[in-house]
Symmetry: C2
Subunit: 406 residues, 2 copies
């Protein structure tokens, strides 16, 4: 039996980043198609937003000196000399003791020093307005570029465009967005026991679970997954599928077949390629130790553990971190919870634990899910996971932990 | 000037749920296409998972009585009578002092009472295995249906299928899923100042922001939004667009034009339809008060405020809650944070406040974003929002609040 020469998670990531340091191509998409995509370049605003001084309220534009003493008991009468219309340029200038009607969003006169809300104005007749309140200097005016400045960097390379961002981009006069192209990732399941989705249950064979979880995990980080028909534990089958996937994909994930006890054909299949190199064989991570990182024709090929939970955590802990590095993302998103369990672990490997989040005494608490490594239902229903550092020997009841929510 | 007869948020939701209590149609999609969709019916498993007793480890299936005293200093020698192969039925039965090799995931003999891991077994020769450790009864065996039971309800109507769920469904032999059809929602922007995405900035006109935020908000809850060309504040334009949208959509959202000070043509347009009924005119919510809920030909038509922030919060607070009721979702998802600001509000209306989440002394804290109602950048970048109840007069520094993250 071959013993694994395990590599730490940090080292594995270094190896992957150095070896497969690819620049993802970018593509131009329309504004609405940029929703939930990662941008491949900083985005700057084309214009000042707003590009004209505008009123925040329905009211009368005034000069500050005319109204700063105005009140209900001491109103000031101003001459209405014009009206500003929505969307139109207002060229009128205010003079002493004059005002201009300016509805919400309309341009104010160039020299306006504030807008008095209509609630504090009484229309005496078409020409005379009684102002019954003072304002602060420039009150109720949005200045040019106050929201967004021309050439301001709105979003940095790697940012994921959310549903509000596309409004900001629309408002900044941006019509097309450069986003990262979706890398194509081939998914190959191996194992004599694996049935494809179309096959009926028979004998002691099981339906392919990993390929579908992988599909979902990849799809949700903007990759383009292709599920290949599963290969039995037959060396030639696996080699032929890898050949096909090398032609069609940027990255290949092979699930199953990397544990020591099973017929281990994945490694042999990888090594059968002339331009291949096994970089990592075994990672100091639980679950997920029997993972292979290899290079075939300069493409990343990963051999993933067969247990769904292990396979899924290797994707979270390693593959997604690698993809984030390609997207230029270094932000880590998590919530903080109080751990309500005494959990012991062995030193020397990083451990991942599915958790459920609850609320207790006005604080967030989390408790690990416990399920056998081959079962999947609990994991599918859990709220997130925690990562326990390599050097720790566990987590104590009451410790605050970072929970990465799904 | 017409004064609003404002309705509380709770009442508005009651009115909408009663008046537009539609059953959303369902459609069958393939397993992979069910990712991130809401299911329209409970999903039950077709099979037991696993459907056979299987081994959790690479090892030897044994009878409990043969090994319960085994240890390194007192090993037991068993006769290896068979090997179980991945995916194959194992019909061999164990007899006293015999064992069967069973790799991880393979079927164990019907009467197996546990599997001893290969780490604790020494292969003396092809027929004799030295067992050096005891096991608990049925240790390392996954029982039939232990993960998922046949006919067990896996997911309830309204559940959003996540990337792990599709693995569970695949494993349960499910090939097609019933999901809610995407309702089509028409988006009409009104206002003389609004420029469509293709138009260049000119005069005091602004690019349409609301239509794009609405697009994103709707798309992210599985609706099918259609953005119509914006209507100027021209009654006939708006009426014609509503007519077109009534033909093509299930729901119509009209943004802008519902505040009192502007030329208010939206209400007139709605009222011009014979089968129309204005149900709500003004909601006790901040921001978002000038919102209209109407019924035209039994379709929900909402007049939304023109300010992007107000428009977006009305969608979060009211429209999304209504859609959740159609999807049969009553779960509320939020995180808990300590509010680090003294915030005062007027009683009588529900208030929504964008917040940023931070970490301080190992706990989550949040602080409101402050931006003028017409600006949008801060809102796009914020982490989530809080809802302050109608009867509260504010939130104190140190209070724990529910944050609905974006």
């Amino acid at each position: 039996m071959k013993l694994f020469d395990v590599t730490t998670v940090d080292n594995v990531l270094e190896i992957m980043k150095n070896k497969f340091k690819k620049d993802i191509m970018s593509e131009k998409v329309s504004l609405i198609d940029s929703l939930n995509r990662y941008i491949s370049d900083d985005i700057k605003s084309n214009i000042n937003v707003p590009h004209f001084r505008k009123s925040l309220v329905d009211g009368y534009s005034v000069l500050f000196n005319d109204v700063f003493l105005a009140s209900e008991s001491n109103p000031v009468c101003l001459n209405k000399i014009d009206e500003s219309y929505m969307g139109k340029i207002c060229n009128t200038l205010l003079e002493e003791e004059t005002c201009v009607y300016t509805p919400t969003g309309a341009m104010v006169p160039k020299n306006s020093q504030g807008v008095v809300m209509i609630e504090y104005c009484e229309v005496l007749n078409e020409k005379e307005i009684l102002i019954q309140n003072s304002i602060a200097f420039n009150e109720n005016i949005v200045e040019v570029g106050e929201d967004i400045k021309e050439n301001e960097v709105l979003y940095e390379k790697g940012h994921l465009i959310n549903e509000r961002d596309i409004g900001v981009l629309a408002g900044s006069n941006i019509k097309e967005i450069d986003v990262y192209e979706k890398l194509t990732v081939g998914i190959i399941s191996t194992g004599d026991e694996i049935l494809d989705i179309s096959e009926d249950i028979k004998e002691a064979k099981i339906k392919d679970i990993n390929a579908y979880i992988l599909y979902g995990q990849l799809k949700n980080i903007n990759l383009n997954p292709i599920i290949y028909p599963s290969a039995k534990d037959n060396l030639n089958d696996i080699i032929n599928l890898i050949k096909k996937a090398l032609n069609e994909c940027d990255i290949i994930l092979i699930s199953g077949g990397s544990s020591v006890g099973k017929k281990d054909e994945t490694l042999k299949a990888i090594e059968s390629f002339e331009n291949s190199e096994v970089l990592v064989e075994g990672i100091a991570i639980k679950p997920g130790k029997p993972t292979i990182i290899a290079n075939i024709c300069n493409k990343l090929v990963m051999g993933l553990p067969g247990h769904p939970l292990s396979c899924a955590f290797v994707i979270e802990a390693i593959f997604k971190q690698y993809i984030k590095s390609l997207y230029n993302i270094d932000k880590e998103e998590y919530t903080l919870c109080e751990f309500t369990y005494n959990y012991h672990k062995a030193k020397g490997r990083e451990e991942y634990l599915g958790v459920n989040i609850g609320k207790k005494d006005n604080k967030l608490v989390c408790v690990p899910i416990f399920s056998k490594s081959s079962t999947i239902k609990q994991f599918a229903k859990c709220d997130g996971y925690i990562k326990i550092d390599r050097d720790l020997e566990g987590i104590k009841n009451g410790d605050i932990v970072k929970v990465y929510t799904f």
